[in-house]
Symmetry: C2
């Protein structure tokens, strides 16, 4: 598609030049007319094609306004301190957001830490300067910034400004410059040097129009001082990794001195973003989850690689970003390792496990890609990196990065040779000192939460023609697993059945919400669907006679009828992947109308 | 006891004066001799009594060095950045500490949030200055500091220096000053004004001896700037409460506009302590858990108060602190409310629930007291407060505070009248604007963890005369619930049974640790006891014949024999209060020796 747009645009450009030349050469009106018509028609075609491309982009179908309204109304998350005017880039999680986050972190813990017996630790956010100097962050953890030379209150993150300007130009049908060049700049924006950005701003005329300064680095770490004397400089950690590196020796000891092993940490990171925006996507304080897998540099194969080796991930390697911009979906992970596209088995293993995790959590696998960092954009501490990017209404967005870390320089890693004199246990004949390789999968918890919300946000037309929104959250991450709805609000009548059910749900450790508001049952379903509660138990008048209830599934809206005594156990099985809804629907009769 | 010590000391003092006077008056050696003998004997008695008091204090029996060694060796927690020399007041949790913390927080969530249907939220640590100005923290969240006028590198937290100096004097048998006065100063140290502290330092001669400055306030909040311009001042929150206050309106909405309701938050707090010390007890970054219970100011009774009303907590009210220093253990919570000692039912309800929580988590109830804040030490935002204090090797230490908050001034609470125009639902005739009262139970998670460790740290002599230490952690908080120990390290032989067991444990969500090191079983038990694993499954040669294993309980070291098929379910029941060890020992035969 994008080639034919480029072709059309090239034709349009050529035609424009032809018309201009003819005018310059003093061509007659009659001679000009057919050429101008061709140009007009080409312009219309380009415009139409841009529109249709925009429509075919699934990200543009996301009803972001509807989702934002839902998040606000149901207090999933909200800008912090809004009663004081708020602070850009800070968000609070309300009760359902908080539960969603806790469930996602618990899933992460099971999927990664428990599954691979990792060593979980929790380190401090406050970090003394010396640690971040050694790791290179004090010098290099920066973004390029530009400001209006005539108004210092007007400042921008240089790469984001460049991206925006290029995107705006692409949306302009009359733009006759090099569209492919614009698209390439968008892809490489955050890997450009200050000189390169400055040159492009000049070329596009932006520098002059906006009085932009030469791009300068801005350190993203929050600075403070520790202790009452004010002379010990500290920073809030920009990531959790350092805490695992400085504890390397202790962790190795806990693992009985054996390699490989992995440490993991869930906690807060802080980055003083120049221009926070896009809700939870670019914020200044964020929950994250990181793994440091330490492995012998000569043995980067992984014993469990075969378990993910046949997965075909949507890969976006360096080469394709710099050429045709297309995904590779034809390669298994094993093939990608074999042809050297992915560096080694361990890196590929974590990419596969990451894909499985994200899909399990509710991210749409068809709106996900793994993009390899360009050499020029690589973080100062990485020698290879693949980002898991999700397609959102804001465009492709990094939600995870699987890094292979540079340790040859010793610049980032506080791992000295003394720390890793490891006796290789199989040989027992000599000490073999080596510097371990590190694979680092890092997850932005807030970004994943936002992705899940966009990817599971749906709407459907009800019988009464009302359009209702709901979150099709997988039960494993849903804030509340089941609602309990007595059909009438008469409390004495329904109380015994309700208590029987809620006691059993408590016993099973299932989070539930009782809605005995007495509103129409359809209204109550709508409210529970909206916040993503996957199942609903309705106690009706029939329940009073035969001790049965209905169980409704959110996405299909289908219902089954079953004994009260079975319901908590069934919901437990449905929420823990022990049974599917289809299996439940086979076991119990479908329910259409109440036999009162 | 302390009265008779005081009496003895008074006698000693009088005798000393008598001897001095006699010397002054030129008494003969023979006349002096018997009086000096009396003085010497009195001194010996005082010394003996101080020693015996110290011995009878359970806090002095704690083997702190042994516990510290264990924490270090097993990486429960460790000073952060120690490879860079460390930073005082910062600690990292290693794998078992991390699991203990997660279990404690999960217990807190069940005991408080789920039990009372509270609204859990998570707010940011970064807080703009305006919020903490309004709450009074910018002005008043300070500690008094003194420094050596001749050496600014020598500085102290004034109240702690006073406490230490008084305690040192009390330990000195020859001290003839007013011991009761010293004890009173220790109790009120952190409630004294700068003028009062200065006067006492002068009286004790400390000011002169140490060249102390006049005490001056030091703000405990970490300061930073938010955004690239550097003009928006922010602080790291000193507590999580503000986030709940600024979200009050949204929370009220989520509760259907109904009062009372409670918000809760688990997260980090930051305080730039002047003199961090005592391991996890006084640190600069700490996990905490807080509740804000919003209630109508005219209805501070609590519907569930009857559930805790008959508990007799060890109370230490203001009056007793200022007089005899004795605990009141004779009052039920209901009586304490009735006589006005505790302000209201809601405050007492949370004190009772707090006591139950702490004991469930492993705090020794007999080494716990609830101390009411003195009027002069009350935080600027509180009108009453009871601290749960634990007796530790460091002395009585606050691990929780249940505050009743001041809101009349509007100084701390960002709750304006517009926010709380609540229609009282029962009447439906008018709007009744009011400012809610707030009860705030606040828990220091790190302090509670340390208390649990000290209170459950035990040692016992084994048959081989070796002294072994272990942590008698309640199963609910133990980092790992069960160990799996094949008696021989032959892997092929024991593998099938082991997998059967570990699969079943996984299915039940029970954390386990396999130790197939092949070391003597006693050594392996010692290692698992040490880290507080409450149960151990041993697969022995008999298991290969009859599919049974032994299950051992850590504290009693007794064992039972049961089918492999039953063991995961039994451990699950033992770890979730569904069954006691005594009940299990009745159901299954005791195991003494292996029937090989």
């Amino acid at each position: 598609m994008s080639e034919s747009l480029a072709e059309l645009q090239a034709k349009m450009k050529a035609q424009g030049e032809k018309v201009r030349q003819m005018k310059k050469d003093g061509a007659s009106r009659d001679d000009l007319k057919p050429e101008v018509d061709i140009l007009t028609s080409l312009r219309a075609d380009v415009e139409k094609m841009i529109e249709s491309e925009a429509e075919s982009n699934p990200a543009n179908k996301i009803n972001r306004a509807g989702l934002e309204d839902l998040c606000k109304r149901r207090f999933l998350f909200t800008p912090s301190f809004s009663i004081y005017g708020g602070v850009a880039g800070l968000y609070d999680f309300g009760p359902p957001g908080c539960a969603l986050k806790a469930n996602l972190e618990a899933l992460w813990r099971r999927h990664f830490i428990n599954h691979d017996n990792m060593l979980e630790i929790q380190c401090t956010c406050l970090t003394p300067e010396v640690v971040l100097k050694t790791s290179g962050h004090v010098e290099k953890f920066t973004d390029l910034m530009v400001k209006n030379e005539k108004n210092p209150d007007e400042y921008y993150r240089a790469d984001k400004l460049l991206e925006e300007k290029c995107e705006a130009l692409l949306q302009e049908p009359s733009f006759e410059g090099d569209r492919e060049q614009l698209q390439k700049w968008i892809r490489v924006a955050d890997s450009l040097s200050a000189e390169e950005v400055d040159k492009i701003f000049q070329e596009l005329g932006i520098k002059q129009a906006m009085n932009l300064s030469f791009p300068y680095p801005f350190n993203l770490m929050f600075k403070t001082t520790i202790g009452p004397q004010g002379n010990l400089v500290g920073f809030l950690r920009p990531e959790t990794a350092q805490g695992m590196f400085v504890n390397f020796r202790r962790l190795l000891e806990q693992n009985g001195g054996k390699m490989p092993f992995a440490a993991a940490q869930i906690g807060l990171g802080f980055r003083n973003e120049i221009a926070p925006r896009a809700g939870l996507l670019r914020v200044r304080e964020f929950p994250m989850a990181e793994i440091e897998h330490f492995v012998h540099p000569d043995h980067k194969d992984h014993p469990d690689f075969h378990k993910v080796a046949d997965l075909k991930l949507p890969l976006f390697p360096q080469h394709n970003q710099l050429t045709d911009g297309k995904l590779r979906t034809d390669l298994t992970l094993r093939q990608a390792v074999d042809i050297g596209m992915i560096n080694n088995e361990t890196l590929a293993y974590f990419m596969g496990r990451t894909f499985l995790f994200l899909v399990k959590a509710g991210v749409d696998g068809s709106m996900l890609r793994f993009r390899q960092h360009l050499k020029s954009e690589m973080a100062h501490y990485a020698c290879d990196c693949w980002d898991a990017e999700a397609l959102l209404s804001y465009g492709w967005t990094e939600i995870n990065g699987v890094y292979e870390l540079k340790i040859c320089t010793g610049a980032r890693y506080n791992i000295t040779k003394e720390m890793v004199k490891v006796k290789t246990v199989t040989k027992r004949v000599q000490e073999v000192p080596f510097i371990p390789s590190v694979i680092e999968p890092a997850f932005g918890v807030g970004r994943i939460i936002y992705t899940i919300l966009e990817h599971t946000f749906r709407s459907r037309e009800m019988e009464d023609q009302e359009l209702r929104c709901y979150l099709s959250l997988p039960p494993v991450v849903a804030p509340t697993k089941v609602s309990v709805l007595p059909i009438s609000s008469n409390p004495t009548q329904f109380k015994p059945a309700m208590h029987k059910i809620t006691d059993a749900l408590k016993e099973h450790g299932i989070s539930y919400k009782v809605d005995d508001s007495g509103q129409a049952i359809g209204k109550r379903y709508a409210r529970t669907d909206e916040i993503g509660i996957p199942f609903g138990i309705t106690i009706d008048f029939q329940s009073l006679n035969d001790d049965t209830v209905t169980l409704r599934e959110r996405d299909s809206m289908s219902q089954i009828r079953l004994p009260i005594a079975d319901v908590a156990d069934l919901v437990y099985k449905l929420c823990t992947d022990r049974m599917t809804w289809e299996q439940a629907a086979e076991k119990y009769p479908k329910f259409d109308a109440q036999h009162a």
